[in-house]
């Protein structure tokens, strides 16, 4: 089995078991819709202000509901000591990590793919003017959430307060990525292209992904095996 086969075997396993039970996906999706609804009370839904806040609102929704998915990533392996079996299996820790990160990425992406249209319908916004760029930016930011979330999921998996610790640890660390995603999404939802003034946010996002993906790939073996 090559490295990529191993990665996709893990990702496939996670996605299959999640899509069959949909336990994290359903919870996360309904949570996301509830937050989207709550935001209508925060800001007048018909005002122009909403457009200026759209990136912030959307990424708050994704960050909150994404954590529900990230929490399940490693916790899913706890019953029947599946985690020990995975660690004992003949694949490197980084393959396990990337497999889980890809699965988390795909699941959060599903939430986003549903939330964008719902957001557009509920708040009467046309958000598709810059669709390809918006998809690319969302993918970069979602990958940031998926890598950090998977890594910290591994760190907190054996804790009693796991569900509380994960958001407490990853939100502050994700701030550069979330901030960039919010700025760029607001711009793109309003139909504007990324200009020279905003290109710095894209750079931050890409640098964030590269730094933390490589850091996680190096350190994950230590976390899982010890």
């Amino acid at each position: 089995m090559t490295y990529f086969n191993q990665v996709f075997a893990i990702a496939g396993k996670d996605l299959r078991s999640e899509l069959r039970t949909k336990e994290a996906l359903n919870a996360s999706l309904s949570f996301a819709v509830v937050i989207l609804l709550l935001f209508s009370f925060v800001v007048d839904p018909d005002s122009e202000m909403l457009e200026q806040m759209s990136g912030g609102l959307l990424w708050m929704v994704f960050a909150f509901s994404g954590v529900l998915i990230l929490n399940r990533g490693f916790a899913r392996e706890l019953p029947n000591d599946c985690l020990d079996a995975l660690i004992a299996s003949p694949i490197p820790g980084s393959a396990l990590f990337f497999g889980k990160a890809i699965a988390n990425f795909a699941l959060i992406a599903i939430i986003e793919a549903i939330c964008f249209p719902v957001f557009g319908i509920l708040y009467n916004l046309t958000w598709t003017a810059q669709l390809p760029v918006l998809v690319a930016v969302s993918a970069l930011a979602t990958w940031a959430m998926a890598t950090l979330g998977t890594m910290f999921g591994a760190l907190t998996v054996n804790m009693q307060l796991r569900e509380l610790m994960l958001p407490m640890l990853i939100y502050p660390m994700l701030i550069p990525a979330l901030m960039s995603a919010m700025q760029l999404t607001t711009l793109l939802v309003a139909g504007q292209a990324i200009d020279s003034e905003h290109i710095v946010w894209l750079r931050v996002l890409i640098a964030f992904d590269i730094i933390f993906t490589s850091l996680a790939a190096v350190l994950v073996e230590t976390v899982l095996v010890g």
Partner: protein, 229 residues
């Protein structure tokens, strides 16, 4: 002997602070633009540098722990992080007091202030993670990994925020600006107080390491007692 050295250094640090305070309050003149309040700066920048030194030390010790699995490094990492957190809190609080006097507001969501607050929260998360893990070797391992991540995140946040325009005043030290915009006596005082804070940090980290050692001794005794009973 080691204790005597630590407390000796502690007394020296205290005397150093008294001497610095004497110069700050009685010898240095008021600043031309700000008047008397600029003096709080001597308790704003030095604790910040010291806190960064503590966090850097903790990250290096964490890396060494992962490499060698020597408990000493874990003990150092947690002690340095706790002391760094306290110093970073001093930095935030003195900054807020100055801001209230000069800007008329306690807080503004300026890039510098925000990144300092994020730093503080990230390291608070480190301590919470330690609280939450019972098994000592897992606690040491996971918190070491977190410490390394935290240092990268802090540096990255700091840099990412630097591309903003900030309300926070720019650098004043000659080594940063390359110009002599700061009064030499005031700059010398900054370095004196930095020395005092660094010494204080060394003493506090050493005391905290002793405490951690005793805590571990108690823990292992308790485990042995459970094993017998």
């Amino acid at each position: 002997m080691r204790d005597k050295l630590i407390y000796g250094a502690g007394i020296f640090a205290a005397l150093y602070f008294v001497r610095n305070l004497y110069v700050i309050l009685l010898q240095l003149p008021d600043e031309a633009m700000q008047g008397a309040v600029y003096r709080i700066f001597f308790f704003h920048l030095p604790p910040y540098f010291t806190a960064v030194a503590c966090f850097l030390g903790a990250a290096i010790a964490s890396g060494l722990y992962l490499k060698t699995k020597n408990w000493k490094y874990d003990v150092f990492a947690v002690s340095a992080t706790e002391v760094g957190l306290a110093l970073a809190a001093i930095n935030l609080v003195t900054g807020m007091i100055w801001g209230r006097q000069q800007w008329g507001i306690w807080w503004t969501w300026d890039a510098r202030l925000t990144s300092a607050l994020i730093t503080w929260l990230i390291y608070l998360g480190y301590l919470m993670l330690r609280e939450g893990i019972k098994d000592p070797s897992e606690r040491a391992k996971n918190s070491a990994v977190l410490s390394i991540f935290a240092f990268f995140a802090v540096y990255f946040t700091y840099k990412a925020n630097e591309w903003y325009r900030t309300q926070h005043p720019g650098p004043v030290l000659t080594i940063r600006t390359g110009k002599n915009t700061i009064d030499p006596a005031m700059q010398a005082m900054l370095f004196h107080n930095l020395g005092a804070f660094l010494l204080l940090a060394v003493v506090l980290v050493a005391v905290r390491m002793n405490l951690e050692d005793s805590q571990r001794a108690v823990e292992s005794l308790r485990r042995r007692a459970h094993a017998i009973a």
